[in-house]
Amino acid sequence: MTTQGSPQMPTQGTPQAPTQLPTVVADSEVATPTSVWRLAMITFTENRLALIGLIVLVLLILFSFVGPLVYHTNQVATNLINENLPPSGSHLLGTTPEGRDELGRLMIGGRSTIEVGLGVGLLATTFGLVYGAIAGFAGGIVDVVMMRFVDALLSIPYLFFVVLLAAIVQVNLLMLILVLSMVSWLSTARLVRGETLSLRTRDFVVASQGFGARARQVIARHITPNLLGVVVVNGTLKVADAILAFASVAYLGLGPAPPATNWGELISTGINNLFDGYWWQLWPAGVLIVAIVLAVNVIGDGLSDVVEVRLQKR
């Protein structure tokens, strides 16, 4: 009880304003100064690092999706005359071993990297949420069976599993998103299940059941909204993980075939030419990938502050 000295809830009516006592039902959103979302926004923006992360992420998205519209390069044809050129006026970041422009390559590589990250984050989170919520809410034997399955798949080292699957299927971007999601949803499911179990015994859920709410109503009205916070945080971190996993798969040469590319594959090329001194083929891609993963992780930390603050305030 170290909080004995902390002040009361700050938002109660202050005693000096009895004359303003309104007698009508507040008629607009303005009357609700501390909605959950507002509170979340305030907490998030207080975390300066997370804000920077958000800006970096937006810049990287612009770079990858808007960049090619501004900076035109031919990313399909190989051009052996131009291979391995150092940075110059015509090729701002030099060229690849196939003679393609490196900067342009980074742009389209960023596109697939971001697409895979977001795709996996969304897919895995959605599936994990549904799976975990069902297991947690059902309880009993259903829960045991569902979660043992998750335990089992979680103990297969994920990269081995992904490489195995990638070796079986024909790899394209969509397939890769599916494959990565297949390993990524597991930890989300475990998390959501745990949260659901604890929510299920919370008094407000008991109260809801107490006036006859059906399971469907309870899940829709209480469980899901209260899960949202943790799930969003987890989903954000999933995006970072997926980008790293995608890079690893691409590094192992199991990514989509050229002329498609991604940052992992570009780094891989750079590593192969490391001893030839073609630094421009390695470091820009390396910096970009670290930047995006860092940005997403930092955003995730910021969001988790938001969720924790909400839990504290309850």
């Binding site: 170290t2 043992r148 399955f149 335990d151 089992a152 798949l153 979680l154 103990s155 297969i156 080292p157 994920y158 990269l159 081995f160 599993f161 490489v163 195995l164 699957l165 990638a166 070796a167 079986i168 970072a240 790293l244 890079a247 690893s248 590094y251 192992l252 040469g253 199991l254 992992g264 780094i267 891989s268 590593i271 490391l274 001893f275 390695l282 390396g286 990938i289 670290v290 993963v293 860092l294 992780n297 930092v298």
Partner: protein, 313 residues
């Protein structure tokens, strides 16, 4: 405690059974089946038929699973036609090297991360904590191969101190230490960033807990506080985490082995993936999974040993 161990063992067995079913299922979902995958698309119908019968692939799936599981239990994981060697003997050759690489790097990671995390937790929100946190976050956000390349650039390209590949592993001890240095370091740094983050937050939680406040009220100095009241409590929860990260550590070793050409199971697996050598792929997956499950088990037992609330149940 005995009840806990027995229950935990039972769980591990269940997990292994499920994994084996999944792996077996994947084996049989292969386009064209296992036989085609092994013999290649140009094999004759007769050869396919012979191998199908020989491998018992015409029997019902359940029976096939029984046979396969029975063989796997005896260490018979099939035969690699591509390498012309049984998977079991391949694993016997590669696995020990992996245990060395992963084991040593894990030991280093734990030895570095625990004091680091405690220090950061103790100095939380001071400058040194912020700097260390930032560095760890960067390591944490870096693909392991990029981290490896950074090390190669620093220790090989710039200074020439250490070899950049581990191809010629298996010479003298002195040679092996040199050769292993960078792969171990690369693997270790990634794990340090992960463990220390966790250890830091466990330390912070503990430092803010009521029982540490009691210890302060008794007059305990920081050193005593950390050694007697924080270390053990934070360690027990970090223990489980270390067990849970095993799959990630092993995944990291796959990348590091590919980068440094270290002849371990990861490299074997990578080559098998590119050659679509399925018996090897499945054998390796099974073995690394067993390693994970055993690791988790050990971690949980360690947790129980450290925490009397579990031990004395």
């Amino acid at each position: 405690m005995i009840g806990y161990v027995v229950r935990r063992l039972g769980q591990a067995v269940v997990v292994m059974v499920i994994v084996s079913i999944v792996v077996f299922g994947i084996l049989h979902l292969l386009p064209g089946g296992l036989v085609r995958a092994q013999l290649g698309p140009r094999a004759t119908a007769l050869a396919v038929h012979d191998l199908t019968v020989q491998e018992g692939l015409n029997k019902p799936l359940v029976v096939q699973y029984g046979i396969w599981a029975w063989h796997a239990l005896q260490g018979n994981l099939g035969f690699s036609y591509k390498l012309n060697q049984s998977v079991g003997s391949l694993l016997g050759e590669y696995l020990p090297r992996d245990l060395l690489l992963v084991g040593v790097s894990m030991l280093f990671a734990i030895a570095i991360a625990i004091p680091l995390g405690i220090w950061q937790g103790y100095r939380r929100n001071r400058v040194d904590d912020h700097v260390l946190s930032a560095v760890m976050l960067i390591f944490y956000s870096m693909p392991s191969f990029l981290l490896g390349v950074l090390l190669i650039v620093v220790f090989n390209l710039w200074t020439g101190l250490l070899p950049s590949t581990a191809t010629n592993f298996g010479g003298s001890v002195g040679n092996d230490v040199q050769v292993l240095a960078l792969p171990v370091l690369a693997l270790c740094l990634g794990n340090v960033s992960y463990f220390s983050r966790y250890m830091r937050s466990a330390t912070v939680d503990n430092l803010l807990s009521d029982h540490v406040r009691t210890a302060v009220a008794k007059g305990a100095a920081p050193r005593r506080l950390l050694a007697r009241h924080v270390l053990r409590n934070s360690l027990s929860s970090t223990m489980t985490l270390i067990g849970l990260t095993l799959p990630y550590v092993l995944s990291g070793s796959l990348i590091i082995e590919a980068l440094f050409n270290f002849p371990g199971m990861g490299l074997l697996f990578w080559n098998a993936a590119q050659a679509r050598d399925f018996p090897v792929l499945l054998g390796v997956v099974l073995v690394v999974t067993v390693a994970t499950v055993v690791g988790n088990l050990l971690a949980d037992l360690g947790y129980a040993a450290l925490d009397p609330r579990v031990r004395l149940k």
